[in-house]
Amino acid sequence: MTTAQNAGTAHPNTMARLLPYLLIGIYFGIVFTKSEVISWFRIQEMFRFQAFHMYGIIGSAVVVGMISIQLIKRFHLKAADGSEINIPPKELGKGTRYWAGGTMFGLGWALTGACPGPMFALVGNGVTVMLITILAAVVGTYTYGVLRPKLPH
């Protein structure tokens, strides 16, 4: 293993390179917390169609993302390091993976009241038991990886 060497040569100034992502993460953690999307109660309210809050958040996030992606594509904007921005389309295939995996994810989303980002924000909010849920999610991902050749996609 030449970990240190590789990291040193392949990624100069690793800390400086990663800092923007740390800041974006901190920003996210604050927005997730302040908008209550990390609340089990809000997720229940959403799945019971009893308030607009979550739909408004997801909907307006999608609209802002959509407009920005169109602008990036139209004006061929480049990343800060000058590289091309590549937005690969998702392969539909038979589509099985999307509805089957999606439904499975949805079950977990409602049972835990959290999805992958909010789980981590909850840990920061002091709900440390979410570390167990995160660990279970890692085990779930690992199990998928092992069973992958046998699953329909």
Binding site: I24, G29, K34, I58, V62, V64, G65, T103, M130, V146
Partner: protein, 184 residues
């Protein structure tokens, strides 16, 4: 200003603040927003891995660092910008949940169930461990989670993402209306 910050933020503030991260990640480093990838990167750190995890997880270090930031941001939000009041969910949700036996509406989630104490019960194990497993398995099978499909996928008008999001809701509705009444 301070008062506004310490109150819960309305959807029309929070939604755009989340959505703007999609282009921000593209512009900062050509990265696509998708948080569940991190679960895969953790698996790729483990020894003796199958093909699916046989790649250099360091390529995902930006995303892992972002996740670390989310933990820190959650701490900042809770500690300095916190809102002491219970989450202001609708009266209808409150009474539906009360019928399921949820009595404590303080904090972000029912603390008697979603806590270390709750984890010691069969109910807690199913919700916290079973739910987590389904999230991890399902998100990778579907190729993304709320961020990758519902936000950045739909924003890029991807049909597969729309199918996945319909799946998210199908699963969520089954869990909410069929499973939770039995489990809670």
């Amino acid at each position: 200003m301070i008062e506004f910050i310490s109150q819960p933020w309305p959807w029309y503030v929070a939604g755009p603040l989340i959505g703007i991260v999609v282009p921000l990640l593209f512009l900062v480093g050509g990265k696509q927003f998708g948080l569940s990838e991190n679960l895969r990167h953790v698996c790729a750190m483990l020894p003796g891995k199958t093909d699916f995890f046989n790649y250099d997880w360091r390529n995902g270090s930006w995303n892992l660092v972002l996740m670390l930031g989310i933990v820190i941001g959650g701490f900042i939000g809770a500690t300095w910008l916190g809102n002491p009041d219970p989450v202001a969910i609708s009266e209808a949700t409150r009474s539906d949940l009360a019928l399921l036996g949820v009595t404590n509406f303080n904090g972000l989630l029912p603390a008697d169930i979603y806590s270390w104490e709750g984890l010691g019960t069969l109910r807690g194990l199913i919700l916290l461990v079973g739910g987590g497993f389904l999230i991890g398995f399902g998100t990778r099978w579907a190729g993304g989670c709320t961020s990758g499909h519902a936000i950045s996928g739909l924003a890029d008008l991807q049909l597969p993402s729309l199918i996945a999001v319909i799946g998210f809701f199908a699963g969520g509705l089954i869990a909410t209306f069929l499973l939770l009444p039995i489990i809670l």
